[in-house]
């Protein structure tokens, strides 16, 4: 289990695991509904002060700035660990 099965399992599930983690990053935005001062909550404050909904586009770009490197990292990990799988 420890040295044979689990390492292979993790190598195989890196892509779906990565997308779940990126989804988790995006779901932190839900915290704004219970008034946690995170990115979306703060940008709503700015929006309500300036009456400019396009603030949210900037917020979206900020989320992109977090999730795109995350996606690249997942791709990197995937290509790094997929060697064992392709040799089947």
């Amino acid at each position: 289990m420890r040295y044979v099965l689990l390492p292979q399992t993790f190598a195989a599930i890196i892509p779906p695991l990565g997308s779940v983690f990126i989804a988790l990053i995006k779901n932190t935005a839900l915290a704004s509904t219970i008034a946690v001062p995170e990115l979306l909550y703060q940008s709503q404050l700015v929006e309500s002060r300036t009456f400019n909904p396009n603030i949210l586009i900037v917020t979206g770009l900020m989320y992109l700035a977090i999730t795109i490197p995350g996606g690249l990292l997942v791709n990197l990990l995937e290509s790094r660990f997929s060697i064992a799988r392709t040799r089947r």
Binding site: T33, L40, E47, P53, L56, T59, Y63, L64, G71
Partner: protein, 266 residues
């Protein structure tokens, strides 16, 4: 081809040692959890008293109806958009491919809640709409988000098909569009049905995000009830049960269509 056969065998889900399929096991697990939860969280039996009133159930039933309506519209409209986006991404023309890539990746990378806010804030106030601005914004945002995610699933399904399918259809004299319509897309749909349906279940649950823009859907009705009755644990438990029932029925329906549909090709 050997990989395909393996996938088919896995999907057949061999019954466990004591004769229950994994689906039945997970159903038993969920039901056991739902039965145990009131005891674990020490819910008060008398806090369930408001639910002996029929009026509250009618109030919640309207919420369920809202959820069903918005989900149905978003699901039905998201499918054609998902197909268009998937085909756009696979197109050889950059003028079609690049916007599709940008759209899909952009929508998928931002939180759904942010998308809902953005759509909501940009809907003009004086637009003559049959429905409320909130439900319009929620439906639009869910539609676009689900379409972007399902477009990726469909693209994977199309790419996973043997190239020979398209080539054989073309050599039989079908045009490119006809080959897509009658040969490639039906197979891609059938092969990606489980993840597509899973995304629709997620969509049903995500209607609860309408709470954030002030929609009176199921979760928000639950909040109205517990703020009056001061029984958040118990009310949210009942609301969770309702979401569970809706999604359970949806899943059974989708299983029925899968059984009734054409057999998986091997």
């Amino acid at each position: 081809m050997s990989i395909d056969v393996e996938v088919g065998r896995l999907r057949a889900a061999p019954p466990a040692a004591h004769g229950l399929s994994s689906r039945q096991q997970s159903l038993i697990g969920v039901v056991a959890l739902l039965v145990l939860l009131p005891f674990v969280l020490r819910m008060e039996p008398r806090n369930f008293l408001p639910f002996t009133d029929l009026g509250i159930w009618r109030f919640l039933a309207e919420g369920v109806l809202t959820v069903l309506l918005i989900s149905a519209v978003a699901i039905v409209l998201s499918l054609p958009l998902a197909v268009l986006l998937a085909l756009g991404r696979l197109s050889a023309r950059p003028a079609l491919r690049l916007p599709a890539i940008g759209f899909v990746e952009g929508i998928r990378a931002i939180p759904l809640l942010l998308l809902i806010f953005y759509v909501f804030l940009n809907i003009p106030r004086d637009v003559p709409a049959l429905v409320s601005r909130e439900s319009l914004a929620l439906t639009l945002a869910l539609l676009v988000y689900t379409a972007a995610i399902n477009a990726e699933t469909l693209r994977a399904g199309i790419l996973a098909l043997d190239r020979g399918q398209m080539e054989a259809a073309r050599s039989l004299g079908l045009s490119h569009a006809a080959a897509l319509r009658y040969v490639v897309l039906p197979q891609a749909f059938r092969n990606t049905l489980p993840p597509l349906l899973a995304q629709f279940t997620t969509l049903v649950k995500d209607t609860s995000l309408g709470l954030a823009i002030g929609m009176v859907e199921l979760l928000s009705r639950g909040r109205i009830i517990y703020q009056g009755e001061r029984n958040p644990m118990e009310t949210l438990y009942v609301v969770a049960l309702l979401y569970f029932v809706v999604n359970f029925i949806l899943e059974q329906a989708s299983l029925a269509t899968q059984r009734g549909g054409p057999a998986l090709q091997q």
